[in-house]
Every structure is written in structure tokens, then in C-alpha cells.
Amino acid sequence: MIADLPPGLILILGAILVPFLPGRLRQLYLLALPVLGGLQLYGLEHGSFAQTQIFGYQLTLLRVDALSVVFGTIFLITAFLNVIYGLHQRDAVQEAAALVYSGAAIGAVFVGDLISLFVFWELTAISSVFLIWASRNERAYRAGMRYLIIQVGSGVILLAGVILHAQATGSIAFDRLGLTNLATALIFIAFGIKCAFPFLHNWMQDAYPEATVVGTVVLSAFTTKLAIYALARAFPGTEILIYIGAIMTVFPVFFAVIENDLRRVLAFSLNNQLGFMVVGIGVGTPVALNGAISHAFVHIIYKALLFMSMGAVLHRVGTVKASELGGLFRSMPLTAVFCMVGAASISAFPLFSGFVTKSLTLTGVAEAGYVITWLVLVFASAGVLEHSGIKIPYFAFFAHDSGLRCREAPANMLIAMGLAAFLCIFLGVYPEPLYAMLPYQVDYEPYTTSHVLSQLQLLFFAMLAFAVLIRTGLYPAERPSTNLNTDWIYRKALPALVRWAMTVGAAVRDGVLARGRRRLERALVQITRHHGPEGILARTVTTGNTVLWVALLLAVMLLLNFV
């Protein structure tokens, strides 16, 4: 292989061939690309390669260090799992878009300068929207459009920040920036949009549930985690991130409780999980940063697993609305088991992957002395158990029997889910390989008696609360509904405001017109009589107008200079 070929480019360039390959060959090819990328990544040495000059700035397409390798590795693993999960479909658009999108995210992780970052940043936005549009219905088209505008907007803000930063410092290096001035603030906001900071988050709940079965799985892995990587690279130890992250962990908990669409519940849950990582980055100590990064690593796997299981349900049943599901364990027992592994991992049960990483973040927060933040995070952990740990598997596979009977998920989906579930348990039982990849030396033992006992108490008493709520009938029934989110502002309030302004404007105009109409009509009659057919009239006036402008401009120039 070429020595300094960025692994992301293998996927992006490889995608070009996808539409031209026939069935079986295409499947093999799709599987081979992430493997090739992985081999390339494995062979890389630490350092900066593939550098070129443009505009007098040095672009670095390949910067290999511990941080980029961790994210590059997990992105490649997920890209591979996603290919397996999507093998049953025959849709070149989705397959190529998923490859370009994964490749762009991997490419962005390895760049060493802000301009290249911007290019890949926008590429992830543009390529990923096809995964939403591939649903091929009006609803998805409109949601995709909103998603695209916000994502591209994030890129434009990033570019503005980069230009200012380059102006101010002369450097475009993508390293620790710190939140110091307008330039870095713009970059921070651009990252924040992709990371779904509170109030900048609604695109995720809006768009992810509209994507295709495979599309949502692919989407859930890359965009937000790329933002986490960018924050960890540029803004570690920025205090405001602690508070932003804490809010991020809490508010989705409440929205997820009342949400009926289970893929949207997972989107809220994704928001909540990102909060943990953002807090870890904000604390910025080696332990907390390790926690955030390792959490991103395992989170990608179990969140993909959960989205995969809901995707399998959607594929077989045609809906993921909690109010219409229930009792599916009869038809899809394996999917149910895999879903529960994912649920146990995200809830951080001991022996599952979430446990070994979330505790790292929590320890980091506690050691740095942020008591309230710590309490908030523990509270949010109970919330995770509610919406992802219990609600998802319970309402899809158990609860009251909906009477729906279908076949088990396709074999390729089961294999993908099986591999993901295996990774969840493997990393939960044996976290050392993951710890060894982290940027800072880890001296941390998750399996102490105190720790396991505390976590089990938290989780099982919370489950007890659930059991009591169900038995007493206090647990609210799922209802088909739309829940308002901040996108209400631009989907309802703004249009209403515009309509109102237009009505008022029209009224004013009508009033003015009514007064001026008589005079206008008389003038029109005059002009029509003198100048013949309407068409010629319009054109004559236009030429005349232009000449008027010419005269005016000349006069202005002369006046300006004579006086």
C-alpha cells in the first residue's frame, strides 16, 4: 500500500466504483474496503504525513497520534459492521453514501489542519444527507433538507472561524485552541452544532428517525463522535463544556420518557450519552479525557447495536412506534437478546462495556471536585436506564402482546448485531486492550467491590422503581404523538410569524393600492393608449430606466468629485 495514504480516502475513493459492481462482487467489495482501511491504519506510524501547501498554508492530511488512532479504529470497525448490517439491501446510493460518509469522518479524524478539517466536515454533511433521502418519501426529504442546512451551516461557521483564526495567528494547525476569542468561539459553535449542544441539538431528533433502516445506524456512529473528537482535540479543559455537557445529559432524559418513536428515543439517548463525553472533555484531566474518549469508543458500538435492533424491527414490522409494538420476543428472539445486550451496555451494567468507561468519566469528574456535576451525571445514569435500558427492549419485545408476528431479522443483520454484542461484552469483561489505546496512561481498575456494588444498587433499585410503577399502573401508556422540540421555532413559530407579517403587509398594501388605484388606472390607460401593446411598453420603460440610471450615476460621480 501507498505509505501515507489516509485510510479515509480508501473508503471515499472506493465508493466511486460501488454503483458499477454487480451483486455478489459488490458485497465482497463493500466488505473489503473497511478491512483495507484497517490494514492501512494498522501499518501507520505516529507522525504527520501527506502534507501539501495551499494559499501559503501547510495542509496535513495524515496526522497519526494516539487520539486520532483511537477514533480512526472505532470508525473503521463501525464502518465494517454497518456494511454487514446493510448487505441485504440493493441500493447503490445508500451504499456509496455510507462509504463516503464514513470515509469523510475517518479522513477528518486524521487531518492535522483546520482547512482540511473543514473540507471533510462538509463532506460528512453532504454525503450523510443521502442516507436520509434514501427513505424516498416527502417527509424524509424535508427532514433531510433541514438537516443539510444545519450541517452545512455548521461548516460555514467553522470556515468563518478558521479564516479569522488564520488571520489572527497565521496558523491553521488543528491542535489545542482554547476558547479565547471570536475566532475560536466560532469554531467552538461549529463543533457544538455537530455535537448537538443543547438548543443546537434538534436536527438529530428531527432527522435520524427519518433515515432508512441502515441509514440511521450509519448516521448514529459518525457525525456526533467526529464532533467529540474535534472538541477533545481543540478544547480539552474548557470549563463551559462541563456545564453544557451536564445539561446535555439531563434534558433528553425527560424528552425520551414521553417519546413514542423508539428510534427517536435512541436519538435522545444519543444526546444524553454525548453529554457524558462533553463533561469529560470539559474537565480535561487525563482520567476524565480518557473517560470521554473510551466512552465514545464503546458508545459507538452499543448505540449502533441498539439502532440496529430497532432497524431490524422496522425492517420486519414496518414501524418502531412503542404504541404499536410489544411482544416481539416470540418472533425475533435473537434480536431481542442482542437489543438487551446493548441496553445493558448503555445502562453500564457491570461486565458490559458501558460500565468500564462511564465509571472512568465519573471518577474523573469526582476527582476534580465537581460535586453537583457528578450528581447530575449519576441522575442521568438512572435516566439512561429508563429510556434505553428498559423502555426500548421492554416496549418493543415485551409489554403487552401487540399480536404482530414476523420472521426473525435477516441473517446479515443478526451477524452484525451479534458481532456488536460480542464487542460490548468482550470490552466489558476485558477492557485492557481499550485502555491501552487511550492517549494517557491508565491506572484504573473498574471492578472493585465498592464500585460494582454501588452500580448494582443504583441500577437494580431503579429497576425496582420501574417494576413498582408498572404494577401500580402509574407508568404512563405510550401514545402516538409529536413532541415539541426547539425545531418548533423554525417549523411553526417562524412560518406563523411570516404569515402574520404577510397578512399585515397585504392589508397595508391593499389600503395603499385602493387609494392609488384610481390614479394608477388613469395613468395606465394613458400609457397604453400612447405606447401600444403591453410587451413593448414594458421594454421601452426598462431601456428608459437604464438610461436614467446611467445619467444618475454619472451625475453622482461628477457631483462627488466636483464638490
Binding site: 417527509r139 432524559v253 425527560f254 424528552f255 420518557v257 414521553i258 425492517h315 420486519r316 414490522v317 414496518g318 411482544g327 420476543f329 416470540r330 418472533s331 469526582a366 460535586v371 457528578w374 449519576v378 441522575f379 438512572a382 435516566g383 429508563e386 415485551f398 402482546d401 399480536g403 404482530l404 408476528r405 414476523c406 420472521r407 472493585t448 467491590t449 465498592s450 456494588l453 454501588s454 452500580q455 448494582l456 444498587q457 443504583l458 437494580f460 433499585f461 431503579a462 429497576m463 425496582l464 422503581a465 420501574f466 417494576a467 413498582v468 410503577l469 402509574l474 407508568y475 404512563p476 401514545r479 402516538p480 404523538s481 409529536t482 413532541n483 415539541l484 422540540n485 417549523r491 411553526k492
Partner: protein
Amino acid sequence: MDNGLETEDTGGPKGEPHWLDRKRTGKRVFWGLIALCAGLGLADFLYRRHGIFDFEEFPLAYAIFGFVCFFGIVLSGYPLRKLVMRDEDYYDR
């Protein structure tokens, strides 16, 4: 599209409900959970857990916190539904 969706029951043999569907399974799970929680709670009085903050070592701290939070979260759904829940076709109208 053939997605294998069927509607007739293919459950257990001869009308016998699946073992997960039986009434007593649910009961057993519930009481088993209570027993497990009791055991975990009891452990706090036999073993002194270590934590970074003092209040972590208070007996049943995590248990109470978990139970109360979960209860609160679910119940908070009621007012929140009043506040933000709309019909499913809210944006399409």
C-alpha cells in the same frame, strides 16, 4: 415487499402460552427483583463501600438515589406531556 409479517399466533404448542407470557412469570420476576434488591441493600450493612465523596459511603445512598430518580423521571413525564405533546400530524397540518 415480503417482510415476513404474519398475524396468526405461532406461540407455544397447543395454545399453551409461552413461558414468558405466563402470569406467574411476571410475578416471579417482580419478587425475584425485590429479593435481589434486598440482598444488595443488606450488603451495604455488611461491607463498607469506598467512594470519593463522603456521602457515597452512606448506607443505601446509591439505592435510594436510583429509586427516587427513576420514579421522579417517569412521573415528570406527566406534566411534560401536557406541555409539549401534540398530535402525530402536528407538523404536517
